[in-house]
Symmetry: C2
DNA sequence: CAAGATCAAACTGTCGACAATCGACGATTA
DNA sequence: TAATCGTCGATTGTCGACAGTTTGATCTTG
Protein backbone atom coordinates (compact mmCIF):
# COMPACT_ATOMS: atom_id res chain seq x y z
CA UNK A 1 0.00 0.00 0.00
CA UNK A 2 1.41 3.35 -0.90
CA UNK A 3 0.53 6.95 -0.44
CA UNK A 4 -2.10 8.30 -2.73
CA UNK A 5 -1.60 10.88 -5.43
CA UNK A 6 -2.82 14.23 -4.08
CA UNK A 7 -6.30 15.18 -5.23
CA UNK A 8 -6.75 18.79 -6.12
CA UNK A 9 -7.55 21.15 -3.30
CA UNK A 10 -8.34 18.59 -0.66
CA UNK A 11 -5.90 17.01 1.76
CA UNK A 12 -4.59 13.73 0.43
CA UNK A 13 -5.97 10.48 1.69
CA UNK A 14 -3.42 8.57 3.69
CA UNK A 15 -3.05 4.87 3.64
CA UNK A 16 -5.03 3.48 6.58
CA UNK A 17 -8.74 2.75 6.41
CA UNK A 18 -9.16 4.08 2.93
CA UNK A 19 -12.71 2.81 2.79
CA UNK A 20 -13.65 4.70 5.93
CA UNK A 21 -12.14 7.89 4.60
CA UNK A 22 -13.89 7.60 1.28
CA UNK A 23 -17.13 6.96 3.15
CA UNK A 24 -16.61 10.10 5.22
CA UNK A 25 -15.85 12.19 2.14
CA UNK A 26 -18.93 10.89 0.40
CA UNK A 27 -21.09 11.52 3.44
CA UNK A 28 -19.74 15.07 3.63
CA UNK A 29 -20.49 15.70 -0.01
CA UNK A 30 -24.02 14.41 0.44
CA UNK A 31 -25.00 16.22 3.61
CA UNK A 32 -23.47 19.42 2.28
CA UNK A 33 -25.65 19.03 -0.76
CA UNK A 34 -22.73 18.88 -3.15
CA UNK A 35 -24.17 15.60 -4.34
CA UNK A 36 -27.85 16.46 -4.60
CA UNK A 37 -30.57 13.86 -3.95
CA UNK A 38 -31.27 11.71 -6.94
CA UNK A 39 -27.88 12.32 -8.50
CA UNK A 40 -25.86 9.42 -9.75
CA UNK A 41 -22.66 8.53 -7.94
CA UNK A 42 -20.23 7.56 -10.66
CA UNK A 43 -17.66 5.23 -9.15
CA UNK A 44 -14.86 6.10 -11.52
CA UNK A 45 -15.48 9.80 -11.07
CA UNK A 46 -15.30 9.66 -7.27
CA UNK A 47 -12.28 7.39 -7.50
CA UNK A 48 -10.42 9.74 -9.78
CA UNK A 49 -11.39 12.74 -7.68
CA UNK A 50 -10.03 11.14 -4.53
CA UNK A 51 -7.05 9.56 -6.25
CA UNK A 52 -7.96 5.98 -5.41
CA UNK A 53 -9.23 3.02 -7.36
CA UNK A 54 -12.86 1.99 -7.67
CA UNK A 55 -12.70 -0.90 -5.19
CA UNK A 56 -12.60 1.22 -2.02
CA UNK A 57 -15.20 3.54 -3.48
CA UNK A 58 -17.57 0.64 -4.06
CA UNK A 59 -17.07 -0.64 -0.53
CA UNK A 60 -17.68 2.79 0.91
CA UNK A 61 -20.82 3.10 -1.19
CA UNK A 62 -22.08 -0.15 0.31
CA UNK A 63 -21.63 1.35 3.74
CA UNK A 64 -23.61 4.45 2.84
CA UNK A 65 -26.22 2.27 1.20
CA UNK A 66 -26.74 0.37 4.43
CA UNK A 67 -26.89 3.72 6.22
CA UNK A 68 -29.61 4.87 3.88
CA UNK A 69 -27.74 7.74 2.23
CA UNK A 70 -27.37 5.93 -1.07
CA UNK A 71 -29.62 3.62 -3.02
CA UNK A 72 -28.15 0.88 -5.20
CA UNK A 73 -29.72 0.07 -8.55
CA UNK A 74 -28.06 -3.10 -9.79
CA UNK A 75 -26.29 -2.52 -13.10
CA UNK A 76 -27.13 1.14 -12.96
CA UNK A 77 -25.08 2.30 -10.04
CA UNK A 78 -25.52 4.16 -6.78
CA UNK A 79 -27.83 7.14 -6.43
CA UNK A 80 -28.14 9.70 -3.68
CA UNK A 81 -31.23 8.94 -1.68
CA UNK A 82 -34.24 11.11 -2.30
CA UNK A 83 -36.42 12.01 0.63
CA UNK A 84 -40.13 12.51 0.50
CA UNK A 85 -42.36 13.94 3.18
CA UNK A 86 -43.15 10.50 4.54
CA UNK A 87 -39.45 9.79 4.95
CA UNK A 88 -39.27 12.74 7.30
CA UNK A 89 -42.18 11.30 9.23
CA UNK A 90 -40.55 7.90 9.42
CA UNK A 91 -37.27 9.27 10.64
CA UNK A 92 -38.81 11.47 13.30
CA UNK A 93 -41.20 8.75 14.38
CA UNK A 94 -38.30 6.38 14.91
CA UNK A 95 -36.24 9.08 16.53
CA UNK A 96 -39.02 9.82 18.96
CA UNK A 97 -39.29 6.15 19.78
CA UNK A 98 -35.56 5.88 20.43
CA UNK A 99 -35.04 9.10 22.31
CA UNK A 100 -37.91 8.58 24.69
CA UNK A 101 -36.39 5.31 25.69
CA UNK A 102 -32.88 6.69 25.79
CA UNK A 103 -33.89 9.60 27.97
CA UNK A 104 -35.57 7.35 30.51
CA UNK A 105 -32.52 5.11 30.62
CA UNK A 106 -30.23 8.10 30.85
CA UNK A 107 -32.15 9.39 33.85
CA UNK A 108 -31.67 6.02 35.50
CA UNK A 109 -27.92 6.04 34.84
CA UNK A 110 -27.36 9.73 35.53
CA UNK A 111 -24.28 10.57 37.56
CA UNK A 112 -22.99 13.98 38.61
CA UNK A 113 -20.43 13.79 35.79
CA UNK A 114 -22.85 12.91 33.03
CA UNK A 115 -25.31 15.49 34.33
CA UNK A 116 -22.62 18.15 34.08
CA UNK A 117 -21.82 17.07 30.56
CA UNK A 118 -25.42 17.63 29.56
CA UNK A 119 -25.56 21.02 31.29
CA UNK A 120 -22.32 22.03 29.67
CA UNK A 121 -23.65 21.05 26.26
CA UNK A 122 -26.65 23.31 26.69
CA UNK A 123 -24.27 26.13 27.46
CA UNK A 124 -22.40 25.32 24.27
CA UNK A 125 -25.70 25.50 22.43
CA UNK A 126 -26.26 28.99 23.75
CA UNK A 127 -22.75 30.05 22.85
CA UNK A 128 -23.09 28.64 19.37
CA UNK A 129 -26.34 30.51 18.90
CA UNK A 130 -24.39 33.76 18.62
CA UNK A 131 -22.13 32.46 15.88
CA UNK A 132 -24.61 32.51 12.99
CA UNK A 133 -23.34 29.14 11.80
CA UNK A 134 -26.39 26.97 11.15
CA UNK A 135 -24.42 23.81 10.39
CA UNK A 136 -22.52 24.14 13.66
CA UNK A 137 -25.73 24.80 15.55
CA UNK A 138 -27.31 21.66 14.16
CA UNK A 139 -24.18 19.73 15.04
CA UNK A 140 -24.16 20.90 18.64
CA UNK A 141 -27.86 20.16 18.87
CA UNK A 142 -27.26 16.57 17.83
CA UNK A 143 -24.37 16.36 20.24
CA UNK A 144 -26.76 17.01 23.11
CA UNK A 145 -29.16 14.34 21.99
CA UNK A 146 -26.32 11.98 21.26
CA UNK A 147 -25.03 12.49 24.80
CA UNK A 148 -28.36 11.28 26.12
CA UNK A 149 -28.06 8.12 24.04
CA UNK A 150 -24.49 7.68 25.20
CA UNK A 151 -25.51 7.97 28.82
CA UNK A 152 -28.33 5.51 28.24
CA UNK A 153 -25.53 3.01 27.66
CA UNK A 154 -26.90 0.98 24.78
CA UNK A 155 -24.31 1.00 22.01
CA UNK A 156 -26.75 -0.27 19.40
CA UNK A 157 -29.14 2.50 20.23
CA UNK A 158 -26.34 5.01 19.90
CA UNK A 159 -25.48 3.70 16.47
CA UNK A 160 -29.10 3.86 15.47
CA UNK A 161 -29.21 7.45 16.61
CA UNK A 162 -26.13 8.24 14.56
CA UNK A 163 -27.70 6.71 11.48
CA UNK A 164 -30.89 8.68 11.94
CA UNK A 165 -28.87 11.83 12.55
CA UNK A 166 -26.92 11.41 9.33
CA UNK A 167 -30.15 11.12 7.40
CA UNK A 168 -31.51 14.16 9.16
CA UNK A 169 -28.34 16.14 8.55
CA UNK A 170 -28.91 15.51 4.89
CA UNK A 171 -32.47 16.79 5.07
CA UNK A 172 -31.56 19.79 7.19
CA UNK A 173 -28.67 20.53 4.88
CA UNK A 174 -31.07 20.61 1.99
CA UNK A 175 -33.42 22.95 3.77
CA UNK A 176 -30.35 25.12 4.04
CA UNK A 177 -31.44 27.29 6.86
CA UNK A 178 -32.31 26.68 10.47
CA UNK A 179 -35.94 26.03 11.13
CA UNK A 180 -36.02 28.22 14.20
CA UNK A 181 -34.29 30.90 16.21
CA UNK A 182 -30.99 29.44 17.50
CA UNK A 183 -31.43 30.84 20.99
CA UNK A 184 -34.94 29.49 21.10
CA UNK A 185 -33.60 26.10 20.10
CA UNK A 186 -31.00 26.19 22.85
CA UNK A 187 -33.65 27.09 25.42
CA UNK A 188 -36.00 24.29 24.46
CA UNK A 189 -33.42 21.75 25.58
CA UNK A 190 -33.57 22.90 29.16
CA UNK A 191 -36.89 21.34 30.13
CA UNK A 192 -35.71 18.03 28.70
CA UNK A 193 -32.63 18.03 30.88
CA UNK A 194 -34.68 19.18 33.84
CA UNK A 195 -37.04 16.26 33.40
CA UNK A 196 -34.15 13.84 33.15
CA UNK A 197 -32.64 15.25 36.32
CA UNK A 198 -36.00 14.99 38.06
CA UNK A 199 -36.24 11.40 36.93
CA UNK A 200 -39.97 10.89 36.46
CA UNK A 201 -40.43 8.66 33.41
CA UNK A 202 -43.75 10.20 32.40
CA UNK A 203 -42.41 13.71 32.61
CA UNK A 204 -39.30 12.75 30.69
CA UNK A 205 -41.33 11.22 27.91
CA UNK A 206 -43.65 14.19 27.81
CA UNK A 207 -40.82 16.68 27.46
CA UNK A 208 -38.93 14.62 24.90
CA UNK A 209 -42.16 14.26 22.94
CA UNK A 210 -42.69 17.97 23.00
CA UNK A 211 -39.13 18.84 22.07
CA UNK A 212 -38.76 16.36 19.20
CA UNK A 213 -42.33 16.84 18.09
CA UNK A 214 -41.61 20.52 17.67
CA UNK A 215 -38.65 19.87 15.41
CA UNK A 216 -40.68 17.27 13.53
CA UNK A 217 -43.46 19.72 12.77
CA UNK A 218 -41.06 22.49 11.80
CA UNK A 219 -38.96 20.34 9.49
CA UNK A 220 -42.07 18.76 8.05
CA UNK A 221 -43.50 22.17 7.32
CA UNK A 222 -40.35 23.39 5.60
CA UNK A 223 -40.06 20.21 3.57
CA UNK A 224 -43.59 20.60 2.35
CA UNK A 225 -42.96 24.28 1.65
CA UNK A 226 -40.09 23.48 -0.71
CA UNK A 227 -41.46 20.34 -2.29
CA UNK A 228 -39.34 20.13 -5.45
CA UNK A 229 -36.03 19.17 -3.96
CA UNK A 230 -33.05 21.24 -5.14
CA UNK A 231 -32.26 20.12 -8.66
CA UNK A 232 -31.78 16.37 -8.73
CA UNK A 233 -28.83 16.75 -11.07
CA UNK A 234 -28.65 14.24 -13.89
CA UNK B 1 -20.02 -11.48 -16.71
CA UNK B 2 -20.20 -15.21 -17.06
CA UNK B 3 -21.64 -18.10 -15.16
CA UNK B 4 -19.75 -19.21 -12.14
CA UNK B 5 -17.82 -22.41 -11.76
CA UNK B 6 -19.96 -24.79 -9.69
CA UNK B 7 -18.99 -24.94 -6.03
CA UNK B 8 -19.08 -28.37 -4.51
CA UNK B 9 -22.40 -29.60 -3.22
CA UNK B 10 -24.23 -26.30 -3.27
CA UNK B 11 -26.23 -24.86 -6.13
CA UNK B 12 -24.14 -22.55 -8.27
CA UNK B 13 -24.41 -18.82 -7.90
CA UNK B 14 -25.93 -17.23 -10.95
CA UNK B 15 -24.87 -13.94 -12.31
CA UNK B 16 -27.24 -11.31 -10.93
CA UNK B 17 -26.68 -9.62 -7.58
CA UNK B 18 -23.67 -11.68 -6.71
CA UNK B 19 -22.98 -9.55 -3.67
CA UNK B 20 -26.46 -10.15 -2.29
CA UNK B 21 -26.17 -13.87 -2.81
CA UNK B 22 -22.80 -14.05 -1.14
CA UNK B 23 -24.23 -12.03 1.74
CA UNK B 24 -27.11 -14.48 2.10
CA UNK B 25 -24.77 -17.47 2.04
CA UNK B 26 -22.56 -15.90 4.65
CA UNK B 27 -25.52 -15.01 6.85
CA UNK B 28 -26.75 -18.59 6.57
CA UNK B 29 -23.39 -19.98 7.55
CA UNK B 30 -23.25 -17.67 10.54
CA UNK B 31 -26.74 -18.13 11.95
CA UNK B 32 -26.42 -21.88 11.43
CA UNK B 33 -23.26 -21.76 13.47
CA UNK B 34 -21.11 -23.13 10.69
CA UNK B 35 -18.97 -20.04 11.13
CA UNK B 36 -18.73 -19.87 14.92
CA UNK B 37 -18.46 -16.52 16.74
CA UNK B 38 -14.96 -15.19 16.86
CA UNK B 39 -13.85 -17.17 13.85
CA UNK B 40 -11.97 -15.42 11.10
CA UNK B 41 -13.68 -15.02 7.75
CA UNK B 42 -10.95 -15.60 5.20
CA UNK B 43 -11.91 -13.76 2.04
CA UNK B 44 -10.04 -16.01 -0.33
CA UNK B 45 -11.47 -19.09 1.33
CA UNK B 46 -15.07 -17.95 1.01
CA UNK B 47 -14.41 -16.77 -2.52
CA UNK B 48 -12.99 -20.11 -3.57
CA UNK B 49 -15.77 -21.99 -1.85
CA UNK B 50 -18.43 -20.01 -3.70
CA UNK B 51 -16.51 -19.87 -6.95
CA UNK B 52 -16.25 -16.09 -7.12
CA UNK B 53 -13.48 -13.58 -6.67
CA UNK B 54 -12.68 -11.70 -3.51
CA UNK B 55 -14.26 -8.40 -4.53
CA UNK B 56 -17.91 -9.46 -4.12
CA UNK B 57 -17.02 -11.27 -0.93
CA UNK B 58 -15.53 -8.12 0.53
CA UNK B 59 -18.59 -6.09 -0.40
CA UNK B 60 -20.90 -8.68 1.12
CA UNK B 61 -18.78 -8.67 4.25
CA UNK B 62 -19.25 -4.91 4.51
CA UNK B 63 -22.99 -5.45 4.44
CA UNK B 64 -22.84 -7.98 7.23
CA UNK B 65 -20.51 -5.71 9.14
CA UNK B 66 -23.07 -2.91 9.04
CA UNK B 67 -25.68 -5.45 10.11
CA UNK B 68 -23.58 -6.39 13.09
CA UNK B 69 -22.90 -10.00 12.15
CA UNK B 70 -19.26 -9.38 11.34
CA UNK B 71 -16.61 -7.17 12.86
CA UNK B 72 -13.86 -5.67 10.73
CA UNK B 73 -10.32 -5.43 12.08
CA UNK B 74 -8.34 -3.33 9.62
CA UNK B 75 -5.48 -5.32 8.11
CA UNK B 76 -6.58 -8.39 10.01
CA UNK B 77 -9.81 -9.20 8.32
CA UNK B 78 -13.43 -9.86 9.19
CA UNK B 79 -14.42 -11.85 12.23
CA UNK B 80 -17.74 -13.34 13.22
CA UNK B 81 -19.23 -11.20 15.91
CA UNK B 82 -19.01 -12.52 19.45
CA UNK B 83 -21.92 -11.90 21.74
CA UNK B 84 -21.62 -11.35 25.44
CA UNK B 85 -24.41 -11.23 27.99
CA UNK B 86 -24.65 -7.46 27.71
CA UNK B 87 -25.14 -7.75 23.95
CA UNK B 88 -28.24 -9.79 24.63
CA UNK B 89 -29.43 -7.09 26.96
CA UNK B 90 -28.78 -4.38 24.40
CA UNK B 91 -30.59 -6.21 21.65
CA UNK B 92 -33.63 -7.00 23.76
CA UNK B 93 -33.70 -3.52 25.23
CA UNK B 94 -33.78 -2.03 21.76
CA UNK B 95 -36.25 -4.60 20.57
CA UNK B 96 -38.56 -3.77 23.42
CA UNK B 97 -38.27 -0.08 22.60
CA UNK B 98 -39.13 -0.72 18.96
CA UNK B 99 -41.87 -3.27 19.39
CA UNK B 100 -43.76 -1.27 21.98
CA UNK B 101 -43.91 1.59 19.55
CA UNK B 102 -44.69 -0.64 16.59
CA UNK B 103 -47.51 -2.37 18.40
CA UNK B 104 -49.16 0.90 19.33
CA UNK B 105 -48.89 2.13 15.75
CA UNK B 106 -50.13 -1.20 14.43
CA UNK B 107 -53.20 -0.93 16.62
CA UNK B 108 -53.87 2.49 15.18
CA UNK B 109 -53.55 1.20 11.59
CA UNK B 110 -55.28 -2.11 12.15
CA UNK B 111 -57.72 -3.15 9.43
CA UNK B 112 -59.78 -6.34 9.19
CA UNK B 113 -57.24 -7.70 6.71
CA UNK B 114 -54.18 -7.03 8.80
CA UNK B 115 -55.94 -8.30 11.89
CA UNK B 116 -56.66 -11.57 10.10
CA UNK B 117 -53.05 -11.86 9.05
CA UNK B 118 -51.98 -11.63 12.66
CA UNK B 119 -54.56 -14.17 13.77
CA UNK B 120 -53.56 -16.52 11.00
CA UNK B 121 -49.92 -16.22 11.99
CA UNK B 122 -50.73 -17.29 15.52
CA UNK B 123 -52.45 -20.32 14.07
CA UNK B 124 -49.34 -21.06 12.07
CA UNK B 125 -47.37 -20.84 15.29
CA UNK B 126 -49.56 -23.46 16.84
CA UNK B 127 -49.29 -25.70 13.80
CA UNK B 128 -45.54 -25.33 13.73
CA UNK B 129 -45.37 -26.25 17.39
CA UNK B 130 -46.16 -29.87 16.49
CA UNK B 131 -43.35 -30.14 13.97
CA UNK B 132 -40.41 -30.34 16.36
CA UNK B 133 -38.42 -27.96 14.16
CA UNK B 134 -36.95 -25.31 16.45
CA UNK B 135 -35.49 -23.23 13.63
CA UNK B 136 -38.85 -23.10 11.89
CA UNK B 137 -40.60 -22.24 15.13
CA UNK B 138 -38.25 -19.33 15.75
CA UNK B 139 -38.79 -18.18 12.20
CA UNK B 140 -42.57 -18.18 12.49
CA UNK B 141 -42.27 -16.41 15.80
CA UNK B 142 -40.32 -13.60 14.18
CA UNK B 143 -42.78 -13.52 11.35
CA UNK B 144 -45.52 -12.59 13.80
CA UNK B 145 -43.50 -9.80 15.32
CA UNK B 146 -42.39 -8.66 11.91
CA UNK B 147 -46.00 -8.45 10.81
CA UNK B 148 -46.66 -6.01 13.62
CA UNK B 149 -43.80 -3.82 12.43
CA UNK B 150 -45.07 -4.09 8.88
CA UNK B 151 -48.54 -3.00 9.91
CA UNK B 152 -47.05 -0.13 11.87
CA UNK B 153 -46.01 1.19 8.48
CA UNK B 154 -42.57 2.59 9.20
CA UNK B 155 -40.12 1.02 6.76
CA UNK B 156 -37.10 2.09 8.73
CA UNK B 157 -38.49 0.50 11.81
CA UNK B 158 -39.09 -2.68 9.88
CA UNK B 159 -35.51 -2.74 8.70
CA UNK B 160 -34.30 -2.16 12.23
CA UNK B 161 -36.41 -5.09 13.37
CA UNK B 162 -34.91 -7.28 10.67
CA UNK B 163 -31.41 -6.35 11.74
CA UNK B 164 -32.17 -7.11 15.37
CA UNK B 165 -33.80 -10.38 14.35
CA UNK B 166 -30.76 -11.49 12.39
CA UNK B 167 -28.58 -10.87 15.41
CA UNK B 168 -31.02 -12.75 17.58
CA UNK B 169 -31.23 -15.63 15.14
CA UNK B 170 -27.50 -15.98 15.53
CA UNK B 171 -27.76 -16.07 19.30
CA UNK B 172 -30.73 -18.45 19.30
CA UNK B 173 -28.94 -20.63 16.77
CA UNK B 174 -26.00 -20.86 19.13
CA UNK B 175 -28.18 -21.79 22.03
CA UNK B 176 -29.31 -24.56 19.75
CA UNK B 177 -32.55 -25.43 21.43
CA UNK B 178 -35.74 -23.55 22.03
CA UNK B 179 -35.88 -21.73 25.30
CA UNK B 180 -39.41 -22.79 26.01
CA UNK B 181 -42.24 -25.16 25.13
CA UNK B 182 -43.33 -24.40 21.54
CA UNK B 183 -47.02 -24.51 22.36
CA UNK B 184 -46.48 -22.26 25.30
CA UNK B 185 -44.67 -19.82 23.03
CA UNK B 186 -47.53 -19.84 20.57
CA UNK B 187 -50.02 -19.16 23.34
CA UNK B 188 -48.12 -16.21 24.76
CA UNK B 189 -48.67 -14.31 21.54
CA UNK B 190 -52.41 -14.26 22.00
CA UNK B 191 -52.64 -11.60 24.72
CA UNK B 192 -50.43 -9.34 22.62
CA UNK B 193 -52.76 -9.55 19.66
CA UNK B 194 -55.76 -9.17 21.93
CA UNK B 195 -54.32 -5.96 23.34
CA UNK B 196 -53.64 -4.63 19.86
CA UNK B 197 -57.18 -5.42 18.82
CA UNK B 198 -58.51 -3.72 21.94
CA UNK B 199 -56.39 -0.71 21.11
CA UNK B 200 -55.50 0.66 24.53
CA UNK B 201 -51.91 1.94 24.35
CA UNK B 202 -51.11 1.18 27.98
CA UNK B 203 -52.39 -2.34 27.72
CA UNK B 204 -50.54 -2.91 24.47
CA UNK B 205 -47.28 -1.75 25.98
CA UNK B 206 -47.86 -3.84 29.07
CA UNK B 207 -48.45 -7.01 27.11
CA UNK B 208 -45.57 -6.43 24.71
CA UNK B 209 -43.35 -5.74 27.70
CA UNK B 210 -44.43 -8.96 29.31
CA UNK B 211 -44.05 -11.05 26.16
CA UNK B 212 -40.65 -9.74 25.11
CA UNK B 213 -39.46 -9.48 28.67
CA UNK B 214 -40.15 -13.17 29.07
CA UNK B 215 -38.03 -14.09 26.05
CA UNK B 216 -35.34 -11.70 27.25
CA UNK B 217 -35.08 -13.37 30.63
CA UNK B 218 -35.14 -16.87 29.15
CA UNK B 219 -32.48 -16.16 26.54
CA UNK B 220 -30.41 -14.26 29.06
CA UNK B 221 -30.56 -17.19 31.44
CA UNK B 222 -29.51 -19.69 28.78
CA UNK B 223 -26.68 -17.47 27.60
CA UNK B 224 -25.36 -17.17 31.11
CA UNK B 225 -25.78 -20.91 31.59
CA UNK B 226 -23.50 -21.69 28.64
CA UNK B 227 -21.03 -18.84 29.02
CA UNK B 228 -18.09 -20.12 26.95
CA UNK B 229 -19.55 -19.80 23.46
CA UNK B 230 -19.11 -22.89 21.26
CA UNK B 231 -15.43 -23.01 20.42
CA UNK B 232 -14.45 -19.78 18.73
CA UNK B 233 -12.53 -21.74 16.12
CA UNK B 234 -9.42 -19.84 15.25
C1' DC C 1 14.08 -23.15 29.62
C1' DA C 2 12.15 -18.69 28.60
C1' DA C 3 12.21 -14.58 25.93
C1' DG C 4 13.27 -12.37 21.95
C1' DA C 5 14.75 -12.19 17.04
C1' DT C 6 14.12 -14.08 12.33
C1' DC C 7 11.80 -15.81 8.64
C1' DA C 8 8.26 -17.76 5.57
C1' DA C 9 3.58 -18.46 4.52
C1' DA C 10 -0.90 -16.57 4.52
C1' DC C 11 -3.77 -12.87 4.07
C1' DT C 12 -5.51 -8.16 3.29
C1' DG C 13 -5.88 -3.76 0.73
C1' DT C 14 -5.66 -1.85 -3.49
C1' DC C 15 -5.11 -1.54 -8.27
C1' DG C 16 -5.76 -1.88 -13.37
C1' DA C 17 -8.03 -4.62 -16.91
C1' DC C 18 -11.82 -6.60 -19.35
C1' DA C 19 -16.30 -8.12 -20.60
C1' DA C 20 -21.25 -7.37 -20.00
C1' DT C 21 -24.69 -3.96 -19.76
C1' DC C 22 -27.01 0.43 -19.90
C1' DG C 23 -28.59 4.73 -21.98
C1' DA C 24 -28.54 8.15 -25.51
C1' DC C 25 -28.61 9.30 -30.06
C1' DG C 26 -29.29 8.87 -34.68
C1' DA C 27 -30.86 6.00 -38.65
C1' DT C 28 -34.63 3.39 -40.57
C1' DT C 29 -39.20 2.39 -41.52
C1' DA C 30 -44.07 2.61 -41.60
C1' DT D 1 -44.02 12.53 -38.00
C1' DA D 2 -43.75 9.10 -34.68
C1' DA D 3 -42.16 4.78 -33.28
C1' DT D 4 -38.62 1.17 -33.42
C1' DC D 5 -34.12 -0.58 -33.97
C1' DG D 6 -29.21 -0.58 -33.96
C1' DT D 7 -24.95 1.40 -32.71
C1' DC D 8 -21.59 3.50 -29.72
C1' DG D 9 -19.72 5.60 -25.72
C1' DA D 10 -19.98 5.44 -20.76
C1' DT D 11 -20.33 2.73 -16.63
C1' DT D 12 -20.76 -1.32 -13.78
C1' DG D 13 -19.50 -6.02 -12.06
C1' DT D 14 -15.97 -9.00 -11.61
C1' DC D 15 -11.49 -10.80 -11.87
C1' DG D 16 -6.46 -11.72 -11.28
C1' DA D 17 -2.24 -9.64 -9.69
C1' DC D 18 0.87 -7.37 -6.63
C1' DA D 19 2.67 -5.01 -2.61
C1' DG D 20 2.71 -4.59 2.25
C1' DT D 21 1.28 -6.51 6.72
C1' DT D 22 0.17 -9.88 10.02
C1' DT D 23 0.80 -14.36 12.03
C1' DG D 24 2.76 -18.27 13.57
C1' DA D 25 6.74 -21.19 13.54
C1' DT D 26 11.53 -21.72 13.98
C1' DC D 27 15.79 -20.43 15.50
C1' DT D 28 18.85 -17.83 18.60
C1' DT D 29 20.47 -16.19 22.84
C1' DG D 30 20.71 -15.06 27.69
Amino acid sequence: MRTISPPVGLPALNEIDLVGQVARRLTEAIVQGRLPPGSKVVEAGIARELGVSRAPVREAARLLEQQGLLVANPRRGFFVRQFAADDIDEIYDLRLCVERHAAVLAARNLTPETRDKLRRQIEVLHETADLDDPARQVEEDYRFHRLICEIAGNRRMLRLFDDLASELRMVIGLIGRLYDDPHEIARTHEPVLAAIEAGHPERIVAHVDYHIGHAWREVGRLVREIPPWPAAAK
